[in-house]
Symmetry: C2
Subunit: 325 residues, 2 copies
C-alpha cells in the first residue's frame, strides 16, 4: 500500500542509508500507522552478530552481585548490546545453560561465577566466543578476567589489624572453590606474617559467603574458646553475621572489643547497625574494563583474546575498625 519497495523500508530505518527524506517520511508514517517494527532477527543470520551478550550469574541474593549486574546491564545497553541473562546455581546446570546461550548465537559471555573447576574453564573456552570473568582468575583461550586486587586487599587488612595491635586475628574465608576468596586469605596471611604475627595466632573459619555462615562461624569459634580481637571476612554478608554473633554469642562489641573488615562494600555495610569497614571493588571501573574487553574482543572476532585487568580495591573505613562515622 505504501508503494515502496521492501529495500526502501529497510533503508528508512537505517540512519546511514542513502534515501530521500520524502521516502523515509512516507515509510515511517506507514510503519507507525500499521504498527510495524523492524525485525533484528534476520540481520543476525546475515551478519553473524546478534549483539546479545550472555550474562551468567549466581548468588543474586548477595547485594554485591545484584548491584554489579545492574551496572553491567546498563553499560551493555548503552553500548547497543542486549543482555541474555542466565542464572546458575551449580556447575551442573552450567553446561546446558551455555548450550542454550550458544544456540541463540550470543556474541560473548560475561560471568561472575566463581569458576572453580577446570572443566568449566574448558567449556567456556570451547564456546569459541569472548568470555569475560569477574573475579575468577582462571585463564584460557578466549577468556579474559577483570579482578579486584584481592591479594593486595588482604595485605592491607592485615596491616590495619597490626596497626591496631591485634593479637588474635581471624580469617573468615569464603567457599574453597572461590579463587578470589583464596587470594584475599593468602594476602591476609602474608600481611600478618610481614607484621611479625606468629602464624599460630591466626584462627581460620570456613564460611560460604552467606550471613548465616558468618554467624555460625563465630559461634564455632566460641566453642573453641578463642576470643578474637580482629577479623577479616571474605565478604560483607559474612562480616555482618559475624558482628551479630560476636554480640549475641560472645558479648563482644565492635569496635570496642574486636575490629572487623569485610569485602565488597555492599549497601548494608553502610547501614548504621553494622557500620562496617570494607573494601570497595569499584564495580564501575570493573564494568568499564569489561566493556573495553568486549569491544576489543568483538572487533577482532576471529582471534581469541585473553587479557587480565586488576582493579585496586579501595578501603572504606567505618566504625567497625574504630573510624568515627
Amino acid at each position: 500500500m505504501a508503494g515502496v519497495s521492501q529495500s526502501a523500508v529497510s533503508r528508512a530505518f537505517s540512519p546511514t542509508a542513502s534515501i530521500s527524506a520524502r521516502t523515509r517520511q512516507k515509510v515511517l508514517a506507514a510503519a507507525a500507522s500499521l504498527g510495524y517494527r523492524p525485525n533484528r532477527i534476520p540481520a543476525i543470520m546475515l551478519s553473524g552478530r546478534s549483539y546479545m551478550v550472555g550474562v551468567v550469574i549466581g548468588g543474586l541474593q548477595n547485594p554485591f552481585y545484584a548491584t554489579a549486574l545492574e551496572q553491567l546491564a546498563t553499560a551493555l545497553r548503552e553500548n547497543g548490546l542486549q543482555v541474555m541473562l542466565m542464572h546458575v546455581e551449580d556447575a551442573v546446570t552450567l553446561d546446558s545453560a551455555l548450550d542454550q546461550l550458544v544456540s541463540y548465537r550470543i556474541d560473548a559471555v560475561v560471568t561472575s561465577l566463581a569458576i572453580g573447576s577446570d572443566t568449566v574453564v574448558r567449556a567456556l573456552s570451547q564456546l569459541g566466543i569472548p568470555v569475560v570473568c569477574f573475579n575468577s582468575s582462571r585463564v584460557g583461550p578466549w577468556i579474559s578476567t577483570v579482578n579486584s586486587n584481592n591479594h593486595g586487599a588482604g595485605l592491607t587488612a592485615a596491616r590495619l589489624l597490626a596497626h591496631n595491635g591485634i593479637r588474635y586475628p581471624v580469617w573468615l574465608a569464603g567457599p574453597v572453590r572461590n579463587a578470589a576468596s583464596r587470594a584475599r586469605g593468602e594476602g591476609f596471611r602474608q600481611g600478618l606474617h610481614d607484621a611479625g604475627s606468629p602464624p599460630a595466632a591466626l584462627s581460620v573459619l570456613q564460611g560460604d559467603d552467606t550471613y548465616d555462615s558468618g554467624y555460625d562461624a563465630i559461634a564455632r569459634l566460641k566453642k573453641r574458646g578463642v576470643r578474637p580481637d580482629g577479623i577479616f571476612a571474605s565478604n560483607d554478608m559474612m562480616a555482618c553475621g559475624a558482628i551479630d554473633a560476636l554480640r549475641e554469642c560472645m558479648g563482644l562489641h565492635c569496635p570496642r572489643d574486636v575490629i572487623i573488615l569485610g569485602y565488597d562494600n555492599i549497601p548494608q555495610a553502610a547501614w548504621r547497625s553494622y557500620d562496617l569497614t570494607s573494601f570497595s571493588q569499584h564495580t564501575e571501573h570493573m564494568v568499564a574494563r569489561t566493556m573495553e574487553l568486549l569491544d576489543e574482543a568483538l572487533a577482532t572476532q576471529d582471534t581469541p583474546l585473553s587479557r587480565t585487568y586488576v582493579v585496586d580495591a579501595q578501603l572504606i573505613e567505618r566504625g567497625s575498625t574504630g573510624c568515627a562515622p
Copy 2:
C-alpha cells in the same frame, strides 16, 4: 563430509523427528567433532516464536527484586524460555528499551516496575504481546498482573498495632507513583479506623523505598516532636533505616519503645540487628502464577489475555513487634 543431507542434521537434533538411530548417531558424532551447534535464530523467523521473554526491572539494589529476578529467571529457564534482561531506571528510557526488546521479537514481557503513568501502560499494551506486571495493578489489553494482597496486609498491620495498644502510629510510605505502596497505606488507614484510632493520630512520612529515606523520615519526625510507638513501613529497607534512626536520633529501642513492621521479608529482615517483622510476598507463588499466565498467554498467541492474580502476603513475626526469636 558426513554424507547426510541438511535436513538429516536438522532431524538429528529434533527429539520428535523421524530419523534412524544410525543416522542420528552419525550426525551427532560429526557435530561433536566439528564443534557444530544448532542455531535457533532461523527457527525464530520460521515459527514467529523466539522463546525469549523480556524482563524489565528496576531497583536491583533492593534485595527483594534481586531475589524475585533470580527466581523468575530460574522458572523461565525451566520452562524453556530465555531471559532478555532490561534494567530501567526511569520511564524515559523505558520506551527505547521496549523498542529494542520488540525488535528482537521477544514473546512476552515480565516487569516489576512500579508502573505509574498511563502512557507507560499504553506503550506496554501496544506491544501486542503478553505483559505480566509484578505489583502494579494497572490493567489494559495484553496486560496481566500478579499482586500481593497489599491492602489486606495494611489491615493486618493496623490490627497488630491496635492489639499492642499503639497510640501514635506512623505510616512510612513508598514512592507516590508506586500503586502497591499506596494500597498498603490505604489498608493501614482503614485498619486503624476500624480499630477506632482517630485519624489525626496517624503520622505519615514520605519515603522512596531506600534505607536512607527511612532513616531521614524518622529524623524529620523527631523535628516535628512526634514520639511514635508503632510504625508500618512500606518496605523493609525503609524499616531498617527507621530502626537505626529511632535508636540513634531518638534513643528509642525496638520493640521496647516502638514496634515496627516492614514489607517484602528481605533476607536482611532476619538479620539479628534488625529482627524485623515483615510481610512475605511469597515470590515463589507469584513467580508460579506468572509462569501460568505466560503459558496461557503464549498458547493463545493471537488473543490478548488480561488477568489478575492476588497472592496473600504472609505476616512473619519477629522481634521488632515483640515476638521472641
